[in-house]
């Protein structure tokens, strides 16, 4: 099979026009839903929790929509296409993580909280300091994640629309198109959140999850059909075309790389473990995932929605396995890196190759490419909307209503502040993303997971299961875990001192790992314990209430 190159020359205009048309259709449909949802949004419960009326399947799809980011879709498919097995290894952490959410968090959170993560953390503690801390960590996690997604969107647009450095698109060169994309994505996410609240945002997630699953399924079936459902032959071809031979199917090309230097090998392997732990423990601490559990009527339906989510997300990662190996086999490592060194265009390139072979030549290739590119934009848009909603909810409900107004704010006031916060957070995210667009910020996704695992998860688990846990413990674990993760990354090779760093020309790094989790997560748990035992505060009476409510659903909102 000949290698296919992304249609920079061939059918650019067909594909580009179709991508933009499809994307505009998605935007139009989701905006219509959002406006419809805004008419149904009257109370704070509607705005923050979508009226708590979603079914298990709907919320399962929406969880998938919130979770399967462009980093998952394009990123993991690209990692598998370039590094084979190691990309697959990466995706597994994202799935196994859902067991933490299922077994330890979802139902209890649904039973005892109301709108935000802090509702559970502050349940039996002094409201103001705990909510301030929870709000701070929510914003940090969300902003990191937002910047990574939005900068990614900017970088993708020129690749997906085929804007090369010497050509222009609608009179914009590649750099202008990047900035325009960041602003467009940011503006749309602000509109979804402000107008549609949780109801509108949830439907956007559902539509996106449906599109993403359908697109990935079609491509997976085409890849498998090409190999007559012989997995071994697909793997063999992928290994041969990757230019790396059998090593492509084995661990070690990307993570835990073995080199001549013993210390470099050691740190690379530690980094792999550190990343794995952060992925598994981070998911159940991500604010935009936690708020999803409030959109269903009961804890049993929250459980059901996580079961759906596990099925959907697991199936999706199995698809990406086929897509990644398919791209390696049918497009080839050389053609992929020629387009994007990080492999982010592997999935679209595969779509084009499959379209050419199975959907009637160049036009078919252009069509399938356009569909997958539009799906990728929809994916990014849905994820950033979820993040903006979660962080503005926390600002309004935790910080404004409970810290500043000490619980005296009216529902109307609270929702108004939530909308203003969405605008401000969105604007800040746009500004930071434009500033960061030329920097390598891909590490921010892993950092968001590390902060969620180091700061949020210890506080949540201690809150739910440890009678002695108190205000001081909550503050120590949140601030301790947050500080540890951020400081370690700041002094790591992803920020300075390596060719792929955010600031490659400077070097202030002394922490050898790119992923702080293996150190910062134990610090978060340890801080929570220390903070608890050094304080005399005893909240065990309120813990009786929390425990009874979390297990039985008594008094659930």
């Amino acid at each position: 099979m000949e290698p296919h190159f992304l249609a920079a020359e061939v059918s650019t205009s067909t594909s580009r026009g179709l991508t933009i048309t499809l994307f505009l259709v998605f935007v139009a449909v989701t905006l219509a839903i959002t406006i419809w949802a805004s008419r149904q949004t009257k109370t704070a419960t509607d705005f923050y929790a979508g009226g708590r009326q979603f079914s298990g399947f709907q919320n399962g799809m929406a969880i998938g929509g919130d979770y399967m980011s462009a980093a998952s879709f394009l990123g993991i498919a690209g990692l598998i296409a370039l590094y084979g097995y190691d990309g697959f290894l990466y995706s597994i952490g994202f799935l196994v993580a859902w067991l933490v959410a299922l077994l330890l968090v979802a139902e209890y959170l649904r039973n005892s909280g109301r709108y935000t993560m802090a509702d559970v953390l502050a349940f039996r503690m002094r409201q103001r300091p705990v909510r301030t801390a929870a709000s701070a960590s929510t914003i940090v996690v969300s902003i990191f994640y937002l910047i990574a997604q939005m900068v990614g969107a900017g970088a993708l647009v020129s690749l997906l629309l085929g804007i090369t450095p010497d050509t222009t698109f609608l009179g914009m060169d590649a750099d202008t198109a990047k900035v325009a994309t960041i602003i467009l994505v940011g503006a749309l996410m602000i509109v979804y959140v402000i107008v549609g609240g949780m109801k509108g945002t949830t439907y956007v997630q559902i539509v996106k999850a449906f599109m993403l699953m359908t697109g990935a399924l079609v491509m997976t079936l085409l890849v498998l059909a090409h190999y007559k459902f012989n997995l071994s032959q697909l793997l063999g071809d992928a290994a041969a075309q990757s230019g790396k031979g059998d090593a492509f199917l084995e661990p070690g090309l990307r993570y835990g790389v073995e080199s001549a230097s013993a210390s470099a090998t050691f740190y690379s392997k530690m980094d792999l473990l550190s990343l794995g732990i952060a992925l598994v423990l981070g998911t159940a601490g991500l604010p935009h995932i936690l708020t999803r559990f409030y959109t269903v009527p009961t804890s049993k339906i929250a459980r059901k929605s996580v079961l759906w989510a596990i099925g959907i997300i697991g199936t999706f990662y199995l698809f990406t396995l086929a897509l990644g190996f398919g791209a390696a086999a049918l497009v080839g490592g050389k053609a992929i890196t020629a387009q994007d060194k990080a492999g982010n265009t592997a999935a679209p390139q595969l779509a084009q190759a499959l379209g050419i072979d199975y959907l009637g030549g160049e036009t078919g290739g252009a069509v399938l490419l356009a569909i997958i590119a539009a799906v990728a934009f929809a994916t990014i848009l849905a994820v950033v909307a979820g993040l903006t909603l979660a962080s503005s909810s926390s600002v309004a409900h935790d910080f404004y209503a409970n810290v500043i107004r000490r619980g005296t704010a009216s529902e109307r006031d609270e929702v108004r502040v939530a909308r203003i916060s969405a605008l401000v957070i969105g604007a800040v995210a746009i500004a930071l993303s434009i500033f960061a667009q030329s920097l390598n910020v891909a590490f921010l996704v892993a950092l968001a997971f590390a902060v969620a695992a180091s700061a949020n998860l210890p506080a949540i688990l201690y809150s739910l299961f440890w009678r002695k846990f108190n205000t001081s413990g909550a503050l120590w674990s949140i601030y301790g875990g947050l500080t540890a993760a951020v400081v370690l990354v700041f002094f790591s090779p992803v920020v300075s001192g390596s060719a792929t760093a955010m600031f490659p020309d400077s070097d202030w790094h002394f922490f050898p790992l790119s992923n702080p989790g293996i150190i910062s997560i134990p610090i978060g748990f340890l801080c929570g314990w220390i903070g608890t035992v050094i304080s005399k505060e005893d909240d065990s009476a309120k813990y009786a209430e929390l425990e009874v409510r979390s297990l039985t659903g008594h008094g659930a909102h």
Binding site: S55, L95, Q233, P251, G256, L272, P297, L307, A544, H557
Partner: protein, 123 residues
């Protein structure tokens, strides 16, 4: 809808928490979720550790080009699906009935003053 729980109810929550019935509910939930969490975490950690340190073992081909690494990776999917399914079955049989019973008692004992909780509809 739900009103703020009055402070006098603190004693009631304490009483429920200390009751034998609630003890059974807590035990039913925790005796499942804690060991299962440890189990899947160790199983995942083993998989990552093997990927990092047992390269020869992981690279052994089993059927055609399918090696141990790929099979163990796919097994992580299988175990995740199985644990999720098994938990939902276990919860429906052993946890939910106990929780529902205690919840019904709590709601019944709440009196008419605040009308109790509005029963939430299932989907």
């Amino acid at each position: 809808m739900t009103t703020e729980v009055p402070s006098s109810s603190t004693e009631r929550y304490r009483a429920v928490q200390d009751s034998e019935e609630f003890g059974r509910l807590r035990h039913a939930a925790r005796s499942f979720v804690f060991p299962m969490t440890v189990a899947f975490f160790l199983w995942y950690a083993l998989y990552v550790l093997l990927s990092a340190y047992a390269r020869g073992f992981m690279s052994a081909k089993i059927i055609g080009n399918i090696n141990v690494a790929l099979i163990l990776g796919l097994l992580q999917f299988v175990t995740t699906f199985l644990i999720a399914w098994y938990y939902s079955r276990y919860a429906a049989r052993k946890i939910d009935p106990l929780a529902d019973k205690i919840l019904a008692e709590l709601n019944a004992g709440k009196g008419d003053s605040d009308g109790g909780d509005v029963k939430k509809s299932e989907d």
